[in-house]
């Protein structure tokens, strides 16, 4: 491998890493598998870089490779969760393509609206979100901490996410009009 090519590819990996991880996380729950698929995607991308049509967005091409690997992963497991149904994946592709077109250099800039939406969450819901995602507590532990039932924690997390989704729609991160998706 030429050093210059490697450096260019490393820059591309760096630029798209957060987006690709978000895409893989949306379809795979196990963090170790997420890392594996991420690395495989980049390696396949490197190997097939000559096949890449430069008139198309690179992010979309990378997601295509990742999608193939994700489906292969579930094929090996002989199971396919409902959130990896073709219809859901098609919607996810659409969502990511929508975010690709937002202004901002990095993925974090493009999804910065999430920070603003989190600020507007009611404190009770924000607390649950922070404990769950930032502090990596399980719902049972959160229930102990804030002295509610585990089911109540789950409901609060659902409610928080629903509010965040509404907020992101208002801010244009998620499309507002229902999309026409074919399986």
């Amino acid at each position: 491998m030429k050093r210059r090519d490697k450096n260019i590819f490393a820059a591309l990996v760096h630029e798209h890493a957060d987006m690709l991880l978000a895409y893989i996380r949306a379809t795979i729950r196990d963090p170790a598998t997420v890392d594996d698929i991420f690395q495989e995607t980049m390696l396949v991308a490197w190997r097939r870089f000559n096949d890449y049509d430069q008139t198309r967005p690179l992010a979309q091409w990378l997601r295509g490779i990742a999608r193939h690997l994700i489906l292969s992963h579930y094929s090996r497991l002989k199971k396919r969760p409902i959130y990896c149904h073709d219809t859901v994946l098609a919607v996810l592709d659409e969502r990511f393509a929508h975010i690709d077109h937002r202004t901002g250099d990095a993925w974090k800039d493009k999804v910065a609206a999430l920070d603003a939406c989190l600020e507007h969450l009611p404190p009770v819901l924000r607390q649950c979100i922070d404990l769950f995602y930032r502090d990596h507590h399980k719902t049972a532990d959160i229930a102990d901490v804030i002295s509610v039932t585990r089911e109540a924690v789950k409901k609060r997390l659902q409610r928080a996410r629903a509010l965040l989704a509404d907020c992101l729609r208002r801010k244009g991160l998620f499309p507002t009009a229902p999309s026409e998706v074919t399986p």
Binding site: V44, W46, I82, L92, K138
Partner: protein, 325 residues
């Protein structure tokens, strides 16, 4: 990201083939969850580490992962006997290219490996039936006895120089059975003085069935053939040996074909500097004999000290009989 049972999203059961009632809502929830997870986990440091790992993998084995793309094709093709013949006639160029440094290192110098075998405890138990007859069978069931083959191979020593090898197995009475290959002929030396020579590996058959002989490094290229055709290979990733300190490159191959006699998983650890195979672990190995018991075969590098020049010949191991004149 949280474990399966601790993931409070709505309507996200893993029902296979079920249609999501509201694909957009499910997709939005998944995306939102991914964004929230990434918000805390994807720091500049973690991203830099991931990029570094990718670049490292590009330098060491840029094409290994391509096997996964071929997985479906290989599985279907494995059913065709003719292809099996073709596979033996044509070298697996991609795997050999990717693991070329390992093959090169393997051909250099002498190596001594220790073999251990343990019964798999995670493998599914044999079916014993239900109802009255099943109850009788359950009562009569005894765990399968450990066969002679596994007894002999456990704690065996394997010494290798290129294609030559000496396999030293311990018998139940404390003696040693040596089987080897000097580059031209296979040979056998038994503790009671008997010895034999042959022009193929059939002398090994008693200890090592064909389907796993290559796993014991006796034919590393054949092992790569099998991995390409029957397994999905991933790696390398950073790992350590059992001592938790020695850094290695870790490869993992999961069986994707239906050849149930083959190990379910093959893992191997390679020294990142010398590319020497440090350890290979085959899980779910089936030896000859009744029952469905599976074993874990572990082969660990214990020495790279040079062996005597004639060590791999039969003559070096034949001891004069005490009764001989």
């Amino acid at each position: 990201m949280k474990p399966e049972d601790d993931f409070p999203l709505r309507d996200q059961s893993d029902d296979q083939g079920a249609l999501p009632s509201d694909a957009e809502r499910v997709a939005d929830e998944r995306l939102l969850d991914a964004l929230l997870t990434g918000r805390h986990e994807d720091t500049p440091e973690s991203t830099a580490q991931r990029v570094e790992r990718v670049c490292h993998a590009l330098e060491t084995a840029p094409r290994v992962i391509s096997l996964r793309w071929k997985a479906g094709l290989s599985t279907a093709a494995a059913a065709v006997v003719v292809l099996g013949l073709l596979l033996t006639l044509s070298a697996p160029q991609s795997v050999q290219a990717d693991l070329a440094p390992i093959l090169t290192a393997f051909d250099k110098g002498d190596k001594t490996y220790q073999i251990t075998i343990a019964a798999d405890t995670n493998e599914p138990a044999p079916r014993r039936g239900f109802g009255r007859r099943g109850f009788g069978r359950r009562l009569a069931f005894k765990p399968p006895r450990r066969g002679m083959m596994t007894r002999r191979l456990d704690n065996a020593t394997l010494q290798i120089r290129g294609r030559c090898y000496v396999l030293t197995c311990r018998t139940g009475r404390g003696g040693e059975v040596l089987k080897g290959f000097d580059g031209q002929e296979s040979w056998l030396v038994c503790p009671w003085g008997a010895s034999a020579r042959g022009d193929d590996h059939s002398l090994l058959e008693q200890e090592i069935p064909d389907h796993i002989s290559s796993l014991l490094f006796l034919d590393l290229r054949d092992m790569l053939h099998q991995i390409e055709a029957q397994y999905a290979l991933s790696g390398p990733s950073a790992g350590t040996l059992d001592d938790g300190q020695t850094p290695t490159q870790y490869y993992r191959a999961e069986r994707i074909g239906r050849r149930d006699r083959m190990p379910r998983r093959i893992e191997f650890w390679v020294d990142p500097l010398t590319h020497e195979l440090q350890q290979i672990v085959c899980t779910g190995v089936h030896f000859r004999g009744p029952g469905r018991q599976r074993y874990t075969l572990r082969i660990t590098l214990v020495s790279t000290e040079p062996l005597p020049e004639e060590w791999f010949t039969q003559q070096a191991h034949i001891r004069p009989s005490p009764n001989a004149p």
